[in-house]
């Protein structure tokens, strides 16, 4: 759909994945995956446990080197770059702490539990060169407010926070450097329903107001419906169906998608 030599327009892909495969020995992690993600677009990846969703997310976020295929990202200054061929490890790491963000299912994987909430947010700012203590503290305070955590908790350790607050703190820490692309692995998993609703509302607002591009992995079809524009359904490492979110969920064509959709409990 896109070619690599043109200047970027809203129609051009921010992230482009081609024929990606990840093998664990003879076992398939994921295979034959190709898609484009445009600026401002939210792509949902759904499927049951073990379907390869997280493997795929780790490959496209440069945490795992895929066995085959390419992942290209449209960088701010150098145009489209193949993550694993054109970029060095330090360049990828720089991207991860500036332009990208990764929200883990378990906030403990994305936070530093031994330092205060404010330091968790400030750390990412310092990584991109912020040095003025007052500015860092003000920005951290501002972001606590945005994710609806009382600013009085700025100096408290995340371990004293509830699960929902930790998840919101992780989101603040990730978004403070104004990334363009956010990867989310089951961001609402493990939270109770009322906290989940609050987080969904928050995420959607942030995505809309900041124009973020998002790849979100979830097994919750309701979450996928409310947040994502497009869906990919995975089974046994393959994409079995993809398309517009409501089309995939309301008129599924693949046997597995039909099973998945018809298995939702009505509340």
């Amino acid at each position: 759909m896109t070619s690599s030599n043109q200047t970027r327009s809203p129609e051009q892909a921010l992230l482009s994945v081609k024929d990606l495969a990840m093998m664990y020995g003879n076992r398939i992690g994921c295979q034959n995956i190709s898609f484009d993600l445009r600026p401002g677009e939210v792509l949902g990846i759904v499927g049951e446990s073990g379907s390869g969703k997280s493997t795929l997310l780790n490959c496209i976020s440069a945490q795992l080197k895929p066995t085959f295929g390419s992942v290209s990202y449209h960088t701010r200054h150098d145009g489209e770059q193949n993550l694993f061929e054109d970029m060095s490890e330090p360049e990828r790491r720089f991207l991860m702490r500036t332009d990208w963000a990764f929200v883990h299912q378990n906030p403990r994987d994305g936070l530093r539990m031994g330092v205060s909430a404010g330091a968790n947010i400030g750390e990412r700012l310092m990584a991109v060169g912020w040095r003025h203590y007052g500015n860092i503290r003000d920005t951290a305070t501002d972001w606590l407010g945005k994710v609806e955590i009382s600013t009085e908790r700025l100096d408290d350790l995340p371990s004293t926070f509830s699960g929902g607050m930790q998840q919101r703190l992780q989101i603040a820490r990730n978004l403070v450097t104004a990334p363009r692309l956010v990867f989310m692995d089951e961001p609402t998993g493990g939270l109770d329903v009322s906290v989940q609703a609050k987080l969904l509302d928050l995420l959607r607002g942030l995505v809309q107001n900041l124009g973020l591009s998002v790849v979100i992995v979830t097994h919750d079809l309701a979450v996928a419906r409310l947040l994502s524009h497009r869906l990919m359904v995975m089974k046994s490492g393959h994409v079995v169906e993809s398309g517009l979110t409501d089309q995939v969920l309301d008129d599924p064509q693949d046997p597995y998608t039909q099973l998945l959709v018809s298995s939702i409990l009505q509340s």
């Binding site: 959607r204 309301d250 064509q253």
Partner: protein
């Protein structure tokens, strides 16, 4: 008079892979058009596929055969072949849809849900909210409810929130799935007035109305899908 929707020879069936791969034919050979400024009623008995046809126009259901052209930014887009980005753009700018169900994120205030289509179009937030207030007031949703999520509302109130959301953005085409179904007489009249106003500004409307009186009041012709039912 320009055609806003042009449907040619479409067919639809559902295949249920997990129930012995049973195929349920719905209809075939439907051709249909909708002109600017007219309101057409989609008719047919229950189960004949009215809502299915409407969802195909909205590209919510996949079309198995034929073409569905929608006039979008002065070009005809075949929604059957369009990619997801194109479809989303058609929905954002051209094609409004009032369904029978309200699907929203819990906790989001009604006023924001109604204003959202305008904000998505890039309108100033304050203007969008002001317009949402106008239309909610017109549809008699009490002001004290505007800051609450509509998920706690009654069926009729949710229906009116859906209608407000559908009419706020002045889409060139509107699809209305039983817009007057659970409304009292006063609110029903308001909806009919909204439809008349939309027609006056050139909006093309396709509606499903079970209420004969409402249908006669706003529709200039009917289109019966029963005749295309698969044998």
């Amino acid at each position: 008079m320009s055609k806003m929707i042009n449907v040619e020879n479409v067919a639809k069936h559902f295949t249920l892979h997990n129930q012995a791969s049973m195929t349920i034919p719905v209809f075939e050979g439907i051709s249909f058009f909708l002109n600017q400024g007219e309101c057409v009623a989609l008719t047919g008995e229950s189960g004949s596929g009215k809502s299915t046809f409407m969802r195909m126009l909205y590209a919510n259901y996949i079309c198995n055969k034929g073409s569905i052209h929608i006039r979008h930014n002065d070009q005809l887009v075949d929604i059957v072949k369009a990619d997801p980005h194109q479809i989303l753009d058609v929905r954002k700018r051209t094609l409004g849809y009032v369904s029978q169900f309200l699907r929203v994120i819990p906790r989001v205030p009604t006023i924001e849900i109604v204003a959202e289509p305008l904000i998505a179009l890039g309108q100033d937030k304050e203007l969008a909210i002001a317009k949402a207030q106008d239309i909610l007031a017109r549809l008699r949703i009490p002001e004290r409810l505007w800051s609450l999520s509509p998920l706690t509302f009654s069926g009729g109130e949710q229906q009116r929130v859906n209608i407000a959301r559908g009419f706020i953005a002045d889409y060139p085409i509107l699809l209305l799935d039983e817009p007057t179904a659970s409304l009292d007489a006063l609110n029903r009249q308001t909806v009919l007035d909204l439809i008349e106003q939309a027609k006056d500004r050139g909006c093309a409307i396709l509606g499903i109305f079970h209420d004969q009186e409402a249908r006669d009041a706003v529709c200039s012709r009917t289109f019966d899908v029963t005749q295309f039912q698969s044998a």
